[in-house]
Subunit: 338 residues, 2 copies
Amino acid sequence: MAARAGVSVATVSRALNGVGPVRRATYDRVIEAARELRFVPHSGARSLSTRTTHTVGLVLPDLHGEFFSEVIRGADVAARRRGYHLIVSGSHNNRDDMVAVIRAMRGRVDGLMLMSPELAVEGILSELPGAMPLVTVNARAKGFSSVTIDNYGGARAVVAHLAGLGHRRVGFIGGPPANADASERLRGYRESCAKETIVCSPELEVPGDFSEESGYAATLQLLALDPRPTAIFAANDAMAVGALFALREAGQGVPEDIALAGFDDIPIARYVTPRLTTVTVAIAELGRRAFELLLDSIEHKGSRRPPRETLTTSLVIRESCGASQSAARGLTRKGGIS
Amino acid sequence: MAARAGVSVATVSRALNGVGPVRRATYDRVIEAARELRFVPHSGARSLSTRTTHTVGLVLPDLHGEFFSEVIRGADVAARRRGYHLIVSGSHNNRDDMVAVIRAMRGRVDGLMLMSPELAVEGILSELPGAMPLVTVNARAKGFSSVTIDNYGGARAVVAHLAGLGHRRVGFIGGPPANADASERLRGYRESCAKETIVCSPELEVPGDFSEESGYAATLQLLALDPRPTAIFAANDAMAVGALFALREAGQGVPEDIALAGFDDIPIARYVTPRLTTVTVAIAELGRRAFELLLDSIEHKGSRRPPRETLTTSLVIRESCGASQSAARGLTRKGGIS
DNA sequence: GCAACGCGTGTAAACGTTTACAGCGTTATG
DNA sequence: CATAACGCTGTAAACGTTTACACGCGTTGC
């Protein structure tokens, strides 16, 4: 390459990167040679020399469902806009997996976005080599840059909405106890109940695991209560959908006999009948902000103390609580293979 | 690191990689030192030296929807099992974007999985530096390793199913003309019609773009026909869902007045009422096989000629065509934040 | 006419690995 | 007992960049 242009490698580097002085004619020769040879600099070598990779890692607990897909998308577009690449890695159910993956990231990435709602981040990082820029996503860890969802506020909004509709007994289907999102939603539910003069009783809280099946089962439990709750708030939409089917099979009309609300606003929420009242979260934004924070931390290496961001959520009222104004169906964006 | 263990870098390398002879005592010293220092080899340097990165790229046209998420997941688990990392990059609507991203992959990956149902792969690759192992996914390109879906067979199965139910006029809502999947599905529809003594008329084929909106609009067109089709086959589920809403608003019962079928079996297909008869595709398998083929091509550098694989599809019969035996609802896996 | 300066370029070191090769004990072999 | 063979380890080159530094040369300012 350098030979082809008749200059030294140093000049090639300067020309291609547009740094340092290089005469116009020389510049042109280099560019021309690069084009002819379809030359692309070897990024491994570059990153060895500059100690920077222009790549960031995104470590996810799982890869199922549209939620993660959206996080990835948000991070990807943000990263590309800044000229960064994205390494993703999913399915890290256990600590060892996660440690292994993170170690393998050394020399591969400039920083890490770590989504770990279940595992304690501190324990993982203690195993790791020196400080690599890091931002946690939806984790409960303190002391790192982080971006989280306002689970607490979203849950309160749901309960307030139900209270406003006259409900006094609201059943709650919870998520996995160790899950950070789940426990914040539970906290929101509890505090709201106290405030809203809603009945607050342990038997109204039944555990689930964020799966549709568990929502179905939990609903059966709630229906067996006496007195029955007049509304059910599931800690995520998947469980709410499970609940919907359970109610349907039990011959309970929604929302006439019992109101139902979820959390997340997954696409399916607007396709079930009745359409689900839920809490919407700008999921892609989660990925986007995570990247922005990470980039900030990469560029201003630990200058300021780690910022924490919380993404607001908002209640989206559909028919499943009996308070919808409009029945216009919401279109989603393109789906399927495209 | 080498100093800490009191040996040379060469020995460290040998010990850590388990290659070459190294005395037991030395080995232990190295391992111990590595543990103390939390040493992890710098993969940039390694890849410079070995000319291999243990990373593969996955380039997608878009990142919306569960389809891509599943492809990523399939590729990710396959890759990790073999000790590979995955760089993903989405949203490459146009040629220049794609070329830029692929060039930037040089020195970063050992090979590329390229999903490009719309763009001609040949044109893109001509711009690129020397042969990098490559497998295309759902592309129409010949001459590369590739894995595709049996769109043709799936479409034929749908039409045959409809014919078996007595339909003679089947409307077809097509996808983007440039899209490889879409055109194969169209081909399957046409050939099946010819074979099954179904009316084959241009007016029964209306164009769409894989979006829900276009399915809605296309259905309005089909309903205006005289005579009307007795069944509608949409080239993907998103359009089928759009069609469903159009039919519902037009007061047409599904399947009593008109039958409806889709393609892809996206999760929503089983949540709409009536549940959608469609063609299911093992999407994660698509990603998995793409990686396996790529790995093969990386390891046996061009020894054999590029294999082509086609993933079979299968008809899943639900209620929207009026032929369902069971109404048991299908549960999906965990969704939402987990 | 000479010093100082700036521009454009080359030289070489550095980044952190892998690996061919050499060296050097130790042991087996003739 | 000399020597070959082997096991273990260090030396150094190579991978492809970036970048501090030096150098030559034309300007400019005195």
